[in-house]
């Protein structure tokens, strides 16, 4: 649950490019130059003045896409006792989401994000993120079999690798890394809500 929240915070912050929460800032871009990867995203000198320009990455939304994305979350109506009020955390005008509790992140990751992502992202990014959401949903299910978990284990490795191709290195904190061990832990410890 803790891992789910941290991953969710990382994703939301980076997708909406929130100041201070995004893992994609000028330092991350400088590291990309250092590592010599993804030359498309390297900072470019601005011809007009001395500043640097950062090309828009595939995981960043334009303002219009952000509005569409946030509007979906803002207008969500959940049944009673399904989740706390997620629309309350969404600020459409400032294009921000804040004040998410870990239970909000849980609902957001499992139910809402896959739906909200679809319109705003290229398929390449959306499908990977939806895969990740599905993984969290499946691993939280009440009945788990060993064969299914082994299948999940190999699937999550592919999903996390695909994330590596999309997001910058600074996105991969320990918490994101721990996702890869979750399937094995479920195999040892049993279904998650009974622990």
């Amino acid at each position: 649950m803790n891992i789910e929240k941290n991953v969710c915070d990382n994703i939301i912050g980076t997708l909406l490019n929130q100041e201070g929460k995004s893992k994609d800032n000028y330092k991350a871009r400088a590291d990309l130059v250092d590592m010599g990867i993804r030359s498309m995203l390297h900072p470019q000198p601005n011809p007009n003045n001395n500043t640097m320009r950062f090309p828009r990455a595939c995981y960043q939304m334009t303002n219009k896409e952000k509005d569409a994305f946030l509007c979906i979350l803002k207008n969500v109506k959940c049944p009673d006792e399904c989740s706390s009020s997620i629309p309350r955390c969404v600020q459409v005008k400032q294009r921000k989401i804040f004040g998410l509790k870990s239970c909000d992140c849980h609902v957001l990751m499992q139910e809402l994000l896959p739906i909200a992502l679809r319109g705003s992202f290229p398929d390449k990014v959306a499908s990977v993120l939806i895969d990740l959401c599905n993984f969290f949903k499946q691993i939280c299910s009440k009945v788990l079999t060993v064969e299914f978990l082994e299948q999940l284990e190999s699937q999550i490795a592919i999903t996390v690798c695909q994330l590596e191709t999309i997001f910058p290195p600074s996105f991969f904190t320990v918490m994101v890394h721990l996702v890869i061990h979750l399937a094995y832990e479920a195999k040892v410890g049993g279904p998650i809500q009974y622990r």
Binding site: D34, T165, P169, S170, F172, V174, Y184
Partner: protein, 192 residues
């Protein structure tokens, strides 16, 4: 919101109850309250001593208990199965440092991390290790982190090998001088 006082609690759950009962408040057993103003940090072992002694006793000798359904007494024994805590507290309880280069307690000393010079932190981008040995992504450096990945996933250590590793590590440290094991956790003194 600033919190300048922290009290830690250790709560035990009886796991032989059915799942819909064992996490209810009426079945909590509050065994320890560790007073503030600061959290115990990695000295939490000192506070856990009485609890671990009792657990040891419960495992070795057990305690005579009345079985209300069968109307007889039996010898009740107990074992600790796992701990539920957040990630920083994991470091305090287990003795494995969950920060810095060797942050992942599951990978252990085979954790692979990379220092980001500008970001000023470590990143963990080694997930191609879990792919099949001849997967085409392993040789594709460009889309990933610029290197080829030919390493295997980390081995899963078992109890004895972890104990040997701790003893070696506490004495000498790792080859590169790092010291991921900060202490030998008190839970290792239990018989199981």
């Amino acid at each position: 919101m600033s919190i300048n006082h922290s009290t830690w609690s250790v709560i035990l759950f009886p796991y032989d109850l059915p799942p819909w009962m064992c996490m209810k408040q009426s079945f909590f057993m509050l065994s320890l309250l560790i007073p503030g103003p600061k959290g115990p940090g990695k000295n939490v072992d000192v506070y856990l001593q009485p609890l671990v002694q009792e657990l040891q006793d419960l495992w070795d000798n057990g305690i005579e208990t009345f079985h209300a359904y069968k109307r007889e007494t039996f010898q009740l024994r107990a074992a600790i199965m796992w701990t539920i805590n957040d990630f920083p507290a994991y470091a305090n309880l287990s003795g494995w440092s969950t920060k810095g280069q060797y942050a992942c307690p599951c990978c252990g000393i085979e954790t692979i991390s990379r220092w980001l010079k500008h970001g000023g932190k470590f990143c963990h981008m080694c997930h191609r290790r879990w792919l099949a040995p001849k997967h085409k992504w392993r040789l594709n450096g460009e889309d990933f982190d610029g290197t080829r990945e030919l390493r295997k996933p980390p081995r899963r250590l078992h109890g004895d090998s972890i104990l040997i590793q701790i003893d070696e590590c506490l004495e000498e440290g790792l080859e590169d001088g790092a010291q991921p094991w900060k202490k030998k956790s008190i839970f290792f003194t239990l018989a199981y």
